[in-house]
Each structure stands twice: as C-alpha cells, then as structure tokens.
Amino acid sequence: MRVLVADDATLFREGLARVLADAGFTVAGQAADGDELLALARDDPPDVAVLDIRMPPTHTTEGLETARRLRAAHPGVGVLVLSAYVEVHYALQLVTDAPRASGYLLKDRVADLRDLTEAVRRVGEGGLVIDPAIVAQLVGRSRTRSPIDELSEREREVLGLMAEGRSNAAIGERLHLSPKTVEAHVRGIFTRLGLLPAADDNRRVLAVLAHLRM
C-alpha cells in the first residue's frame, strides 16, 4: 500500500514515515505542506495520504482543505488527517464531506503503532476511521435524555467501535464476541436508537455518527 506523508514538523514526519515503512507501507513521498502533497499526488497518486490538520501557511485547518482538494483531484485516494486535538467538529466534517476512505486520528495514536497502521490500512481499503477519543466524546457525552443512556455497557462498547469505523468482525475480535453476538448487539442498538439497518460499514458509521451528533 503506497502512502504519502505531509506534516510541517520534519522530525515527526520522518519518524512517521519510518514507522509506516516499518509496518510494511511504501512511503512514496513526504511533503511539508498541502501544496507539496498535492504536487506529489498529482505525479503519482498514492493509496493513502496521511496529513497533519495544521500546516503552513496559516496553521489552522489546511489539512482539511488539502484533503478536500486531494479527493476532488483523485477520488480514489484515501485521506487520514492527524490532529493534536480532539475536535469533533472537524472529524465529523471530514467524514461527512467524503463518506469513504477517510479518517481523523489523534496524533497521540503514534503511541500505539498497531492502532496507527491499522487506521492507515482501513482508510486505504476505503473505510472510515474515527479516533476513539472523538467517539468517546460523542458516546460518553451526557446529553440529557438520550436513548444512548438506555444501552447496556456492552452495547455502548459496540456502538463506540461502530462509530470508530470498525466492521462487525473487528468488533467481535476486539470484544472477544462471536459474529452472531455482535450482529445481535448491532441490531439491538439500531432498534433502540431508531436507526435503519445500513447497507455497508461506511453508511453504518455515518448513521451512527449522525445520531451521536444530535
């Protein structure tokens, strides 16, 4: 899987590139800002672009803008945006803008190389990835009188993993549950929340996120 990495912090970027290379990805290039990344992608589109949300020139949300332009030019390229902050607003904006092959990950995830590489891979495969910290805020947040309050502990765990963009299989693996149990939980959750069963994993993520966002 070919990856481009963009971050204006050189050391971090190179460390990230090395980690990804160690994990078996082909790092096809590194960019210090969005324009450089777009130039690299134009010459040779990667499978996934991993980019910092804050880059020159304004150090605000260049990453999101670059993601938008990148997808407009190369719809097949997956985009994983890294951020130092837990920003629900941007995370949701990112995946609703492009409900496939995109993700929002906290930079701290580099603490767990497995989390990081798995996220890159899932995005490369066309999936959606939402950082657990974002999901925690969405699920754990205590809006008054939410149907989420009526979910069981286990159901809430399943809901969170769904919101992170994980498949039933991944959820089962993570929670040590049989696929049938996971399916039963998912059905139960959808019924409780009044959601319609979704056709694929990405739509399921979006439906769950949309519900959580309310």
């Binding site: 050391l11 804050r54 920003e87 607003h89 930079k107 947040r141 205590s142």
Partner: protein, 587 residues
C-alpha cells in the same frame, strides 16, 4: 451710601422744586380760577415728580443709570417752567430762555433710550441740536422777539429785547419753530431707525416709548391743526390745553418705565436660562444650551460653535465644522483667555451687550460643565479602548503561546514518542522494553496534559471554526450533562467570541465543581446587536457572584468589551450566568 445720599438729594430737590412751583403758581400774579389752579398744580407736580420718580426707579436697573439720570433731569428741568408762573419781566425772560431745557433733555433721552449710550454721529448731532436750539436758540430769539408785537398782550416785557433787532423777530421765531419741527422729525427718525435695526428684546423696550411719542405727536399735530384753522383759543381753553398737555406728558415716564421693565424682564429670562440649563434630566447638552440661549435672547438664529484646539477650527453642536459667518455677530466665550466656544447671534443683539454677556455667562457654566463631561467621556472611552486592547493583546498572546506549544513541545514529544515506539518495536519482552513502555506511557500522559493546557490557553477550534463548534466541544466535555442552543452564525469579532467562550467554559467548570446540578443548559444567541450567552444549571444555587476569582476576572473581561455579566443564583433555585456582549462596542 453715595447712591443713597444722591437719591435723597434728588428727592429733596424735586420736593422743593415742586412745592416752589405750587407756591409760584398760587402767588405768581396770573389770574386763574380755583379749579384751574388746582388742576394745573396737580398736573405740574405729577409730570415733574413722575419723571423724577421714574428716573430714580430706572437708575436702579443697571446697567443704564444714564437713562435714569436723564429722566430725573427732565423732571427737574420741568420745574424750571414754574418760573413762568411769576408775572414779572425778569421771570418771563428767564423762562423764555431756559424753559425748554426739559424738551432738549427729553429729545436726548429719546435718542439714547434704553441703553443711555450715543451710538452714532447722527444721534450725537440730534442731541446737540436739541440743546442748541432749545436754550441758546431761545436766548438768541429773545434778542429780537417782542411779545407784544407777537400778539401777546398779557405777556410781561422781554428784558433781552434789543430794539434794533425787533424787526427780525417774526422771521427768527418762524425759523426757530421750523428748526424745532425738524428736531422733532429727526428724533422720530432716529427712533424709527433704531427700531428697524433693533433686536427683538430692544423692540420690546422701545415699543411703549414709540407709542407714547406717536400719541403725543398726534396730539400736538391736532393742536397745531386747530390753531391753523384759526380757532383762537379762549383763555379757559388755554388753561385746559395746558392741563391736558401736561396730562399727556405723564405718558412719557410711564412709557420709559414700561420699556425698561420689559428689558429687565428679558434679562430675568437669563435667570430662567440658568434654571433651565441646570434642571434638565439629561444634562445641558450643547443643543439644549443653544436652544435655551435662543429663547433667552429672543433670537432663534442663535448658534453655538465649539473651538477644537486640535482641529484649529469651530464645530457646531453636532460636531460638524463651521466657519464663523459674517451675517452673524460673534461673541467669543473664553476660558483662561483662550476662546473655547463662540456664540453666533443676530447683529441686532449687539445693542444688548449686557443681555448677551449675561446669557453667555450663564450658559458658560453649563457649557463648561458639558465640556468637562465630554472630556471625561473621551477619557473614559480611551480607558475602555485601552482595556479592550489589553484583552485583545492578552488573547493574541494566548494564541501565540498555544501555537508555540503545538508547534514546539507537542510536536517534539510526539516525535520522541514515535522514536520510543519504534525502539520498543525492535525489542522483545525485556527489562529495557518495559522501561520503554513506561516512558511511552509517561510521554502520552504528558501529551494529554499539554493538550489540555494548550486548549485552556486558547481553543484552536474557536478561532478556526467559530463560537458554535467551540461551545459544542465545551458542552461535550462537560462532566455535568449539558445541552447547547447555539445556531452557527456568521463569525463574530474575535474578542467577543473568546470572551463568550471563556464565560461558558468557566461557568461550566463551576457547575461541575460546586452546583451539584443534574443538567446544565448553555445558549448563545445574537440579538439586538449583541451576543447573549447563558449558562443555567438546576443545581443548589446560592453561588456568590463576588466570590471566585474566575467569574470576577470574567466580569472584568466582559466589561472591557462594554458588556455585562450577571450571576443569578437564588438558594435552591439553580445558578444562571448571563453575559451580554455588544458586537460593535462603542469605542
């Protein structure tokens, strides 16, 4: 004291002269019936004393003592005519020479009324002509005038008559009469001219005098007309004419007094001006001062202009630059010798400098006051602006520190974490690997803390995405279940957004710490040109608005933006923190 003595002297003189007139009338030698004698005595005293009395009264109405003294002089001169009650050539000659002095004084009075000042060459000429005609002129006439030849059989002899000149008598008398008519016409003309150029208050003073003058002119014209028609008067008619003429002369002092009183009433309007300017609820605004001056001066065209030293020019009450026009008289208001304002008024008011000065002096107090207030307001505005700048500066500083943390320490820690994890990946389970794991955990904790610190300094999402998303994040992190009512709208001024954010942040933190609330509702709406944020919980209430440096600091912050922060926390009734922030603070 001097004034009292002078008044006493005048009164004594008038009494003596009046009584002497009565005595002379009674014993002078002319034959008069009892009732005529009585009427004539009363009329004589009434005219003389009323002039003197009116003069003394008028003299008190500063600042025109000259007018009062002239009236006194007319009254005293009037009694000179009593010399004529003595039937002797000497008395006859004397009264013929100086008896008309009162008329010269009256002409003088008419010309200078009410200010007492001679204001033009024409006026001076008329006054001088009066004195010359009526005293030296009369003396000159006496040299040639033979009463017997003129048809006055009962007249005593003219002691000054020079037989050689007697032939010119009738011509000289005609000439003097004609000159006297011209004098009357000139006085009337001068008064008419003054009327034309007079300000409304002056006209109000002149009007009664002009009316009296017109009545007297008509009366004497009628008398002359009758004489011309050949109706020779019988002796009884003559006495009656004398009496009725005197009665009409009584109108003069009345007219003068009424005129002066009106003038004084106008000046008392200045007192009303002071009360008006002092008593307004909304203070003496320049516009109100201008209007009040217009009313006090009977001049609706009165305009105020303020001198602005930094612009080196005048501005009107609305702050628009004005040039001092030629069409208006300008009275400068000075403070410490420097003009600070100008009063533009009708040039006719120049004949009332005292009135203008009094009005201006009164208005100056208000204007000074207003000016001090304006300076205070300006200083307050400056302090406010600098306070707001301090807030903006502090915010900018927080943004800078947050960015430095993000780009510096956070990135370095992340890079270190990456390196650590890569190193760890190379190791299997070993004491070194465990140490690396622990170091990694510590680094992750440090990153968490650093992230919270950076967000507390300045939430990046606030400046990047706006208030509603930033509040959304706050509400999501609130330990107490919170709802948010904030429609994402257009971006607001950065200081307003940041202040609102910190108000909600601090209030939510307080709810979590103290309130024991089950839920908290956050709202932020833009309404009436302001942002209104509210954080209301259903907790225990009873929070002390003054307590807690957090909210107090926020109150200062809110005030720096001309906003208001309120904490409503009845015991048992929950706590409601509201902040209203104008979007366009008046700077």
């Amino acid at each position: 004291m001097r004034d009292v003595k002078r008044t006493a002297a005048v009164v004594a003189l008038a009494l003596v002269a009046g009584l002497a007139n009565v005595v002379l009338l009674a014993v002078g030698g002319y034959e008069r019936s009892g009732p005529t004698l009585l009427l004539l005595a009363i009329a004589t005293l009434a005219v003389g004393w009323s002039f003197v009395g009116a003069g003394l009264a008028a003299r008190r109405s500063r600042p025109e003592p000259a007018v009062g003294w002239l009236m006194v002089a007319v009254g005293l001169a009037w009694f000179l005519r009593g010399i004529g009650f003595v039937r002797s050539p000497a008395a006859f000659t004397l009264v013929s020479a100086v008896g008309d002095l009162d008329q010269a004084l009256l002409a003088h009075l008419l010309v200078v009324f009410p200010s007492g000042r001679i204001a033009s060459g024409l006026q001076r000429a008329v006054v001088v002509l009066g004195y010359v005609l009526l005293v030296p002129g009369s003396v000159a006439l006496l040299l040639a005038w033979d009463p017997a030849a003129a048809g006055c059989a009962t007249c005593p002899a003219n002691l000054l008559l020079q037989p050689g000149l007697a032939g010119y008598g009738p011509d000289a008398a005609g000439l003097l009469n004609a000159a006297t008519l011209v004098l009357v016409a000139l006085v009337a003309g001068v008064v008419a001219l003054r009327w034309r150029g007079a300000s409304p208050p002056l006209r109000r003073a002149l009007a009664p005098v002009a009316v009296v003058g017109a009545v007297l002119l008509l009366f004497f014209a009628a008398q002359q007309g009758l004489a011309l028609l050949g109706r020779s008067a019988a002796p009884a008619d003559l006495a009656l004419g004398e009496v009725s003429g005197s009665v009409l002369l009584l109108l003069w002092p009345v007219g003068f007094l009424v005129g002066l009183t009106r003038l004084r009433l106008d000046r008392s309007r200045v007192g009303a001006l002071a009360i008006e300017l002092g008593g307004g609820e909304d203070g003496a605004t320049p516009e109100r001062v201008q209007q009040a001056l217009g009313r006090a001066l009977h001049d609706p065209s009165v305009r105020l202009a303020y001198w602005l030293a930094d612009r080196e020019g005048y501005v009107d009450v609305d702050g628009r630059p004005v040039a001092l026009p030629d069409t208006h008289e300008v009275t400068l208001l000075r403070r410490d010798g420097e003009p600070f304002a100008a009063l533009l008024h009708d040039p006719a008011l120049a004949d009332q400098p005292e009135l203008v000065d009094a009005a201006v002096a009164t208005a100056r107090l208000s204007l000074d006051n207003e000016r001090l207030q304006a300076e205070l307001r300006a200083q307050l505005a400056q302090v406010r602006a600098s306070r707001a700048r301090l807030v903006e500066f502090a915010d900018a500083e927080r943004r800078r520190v947050e960015r430095n943390l993000h780009d510096g320490a956070q990135q370095r820690l992340l890079t270190a974490l990456l390196g650590l994890r890569r190193a760890r990946a190379c190791l299997d389970s070993s004491p070194a690997a465990a140490a690396l794991d622990e170091a990694g955990e510590q680094l992750t904790l440090a990153l968490d803390e650093l992230r919270d610190l950076a967000r507390g300094l300045h939430p990046a999402i606030l400046s990047n995405a706006g208030l509603a998303p930033a509040l959304d994040e706050l509400v999501r992190r609130s330990p107490v279940p919170a709802t948010l009512d904030a429609a994402p709208g257009p971006r607001l001024p950065a200081p307003v957004e940041e202040t609102a954010y910190f108000v909600v942040s601090e209030a939510l933190a307080n709810v979590a710490r103290h309130a024991g609330a089950a839920t908290v509702a956050v709202s932020a709406v833009v309404r009436d040109g302001g942002l209104h944020v509210e954080v209301a919980d259903d907790g225990a209430g009873g929070a002390d608005p003054a307590g807690g440096s957090g909210l107090r600091g926020l109150a200062d912050r809110v005030a720096a933006l001309d906003g208001a922060l309120a904490v409503d926390s009845p015991p048992g009734g929950g706590t409601r923190v509201t902040a209203s922030l104008p979007l366009d603070p008046a700077r």
